[in-house]
């Protein structure tokens, strides 16, 4: 405001500063001064050109614009915060899901508890009970993590990358539902159900691994761009090798213990890393970038 400003324009600017309080605080803090400057610049021009009528017309336009922009900014902020929360949650879902997958795998590898079996341990009673629910929860959480990747990186991925993410997430969902049906006693599909579960689990990790190749090429993650490929390649390869082996020999592939340990450890470590990167990569401004 300069020293020779007309009182009318000075009053208008003060009024507009008050109007700005309708905007979200962060937006007002970042852009309030610039908006006042634009408002004041145009107020001076139209007042010089068309007097009071020009100023009133500018006010009418500004108020209409304010009504639209205030709704837009508050809505965007709400959507943005929900997305931020969801992505953060899905990152932790990856972390928790991978730990539970490891525990589920370990629990399912324990022998059936028997007080007469000298190989049995007291904790096998617990392991026998938790093994199947653990697998269910881990598949659900990892699928949720995949949805988080879609929300966070879907827009910046290529159409092929997006397809792999959706493919993985949907496969994970089907795998989850199939395993749930086993647990609640709705084993309606029998052997087919088992194959659906295993193949969809493999597809979940395949989708993640294929998207991981794009991460390596385009550096979609802020760091750790090899993590999706590392997280996806172990289980998918493991299941596909097992499936091929079964098709050829008719027997399920009992992989050497060391292979199991390496595959699951690699997967869990990479998933934990990926989840940690995802939960930390939720800058609201970047989320909004996808809406521009």
């Amino acid at each position: 405001m300069n020293q020779t400003e007309s009182p009318l324009i000075g009053f208008s600017i003060r009024m507009y500063c008050m109007v700005l309080h309708f905007y979200p605080f962060v937006f007002r803090r970042d852009y309030g001064d610039l908006m006042v400057q634009v408002f004041a610049d145009h107020a001076r021009v139209v007042t010089r050109q068309r007097g009071l009528k020009g100023l009133l017309t500018w006010w009418a336009r500004t108020m209409l614009d304010t009504a639209q922009a205030v709704i837009e900014e508050h809505t965007q902020r709400g959507v943005d915060m929900s997305k931020v929360k969801f992505v953060k949650l899905s990152g932790w879902a990856f972390v928790l899901g991978s730990v539970m997958m490891f525990l589920g795998w370990w629990a399912s590898s324990r022998p059936e508890y028997s007080p007469y079996n000298f190989l049995s341990r007291w904790y096998d009673q617990v392991a026998n009970v938790i093994a199947e629910p653990m697998i269910l929860v881990s598949v659900g959480l990892i699928s949720l993590g995949m949805v988080g990747l879609i929300v966070r990186y879907g827009q910046v991925s290529s159409s092929a990358g997006r397809f792999f993410l959706y493919f993985g997430a949907i496969s994970g969902g089907i795998s989850f539902i199939t395993w749930l049906s086993f647990l609640v006693g709705l084993d309606l599909t029998g052997e087919v159900g088992w194959l659906v579960f295993m193949y969809c689990l493999a597809f979940l990790f395949t989708g993640l691994a294929l998207w991981g190749i794009e991460c390596l090429r385009s550096r979609l993650l802020p760091r750790g761009n090899a993590l999706p490929l590392l997280a996806g390649i172990g289980v998918s390869s493991f299941v596909f090798v097992g499936m091929v082996y079964e098709l050829v020999t008719g027997n399920w592939w009992n992989a050497p213990e060391i292979v199991n340990v390496v595959v699951f450890t690699l997967t869990v470590v990479a998933l934990v890393g990926l989840g940690y990167v995802l939960q930390g990569d939720v800058q609201p401004s970047e989320m909004k970038a996808q809406a521009a």
Binding site: L34, T62, Q68, V156, N225
Partner: protein
Amino acid sequence: MSEGTNNPENSLPEGFLPLTPAVFNILLALADGEKHGYAIMMEVEANSLGEMKMGPGTLYGSIKRMLAAGLVEESGERPDEALDDQRRRYYRLTGIGRQVLQAEAKRLSRQVALAQVKRVLDGSI
């Protein structure tokens, strides 16, 4: 392990399309050089023959999202204090911003060409 950022330059221009009228017009206003907010607002109004009138809220709401998307960036350079207000912020197109503008302009021109083929523009339908 490769390091990287969510670099907007890695994004595909088509991923941003279609643009909102405000975003397209702001990009268009910046096509021939950097400008401050008020200059952008006035140029958008002039370019659209007065059909697109933005207020400060729409202008800076759009600029905020475009900055976040990496379509525009703030220019560090400031004009001479005697020539302009030093508090002004100047904006300019980024590489991806220019590509997005070109992609949207091509998309719109294809739509106009289609309208011509269908004789929409000469009023004969």
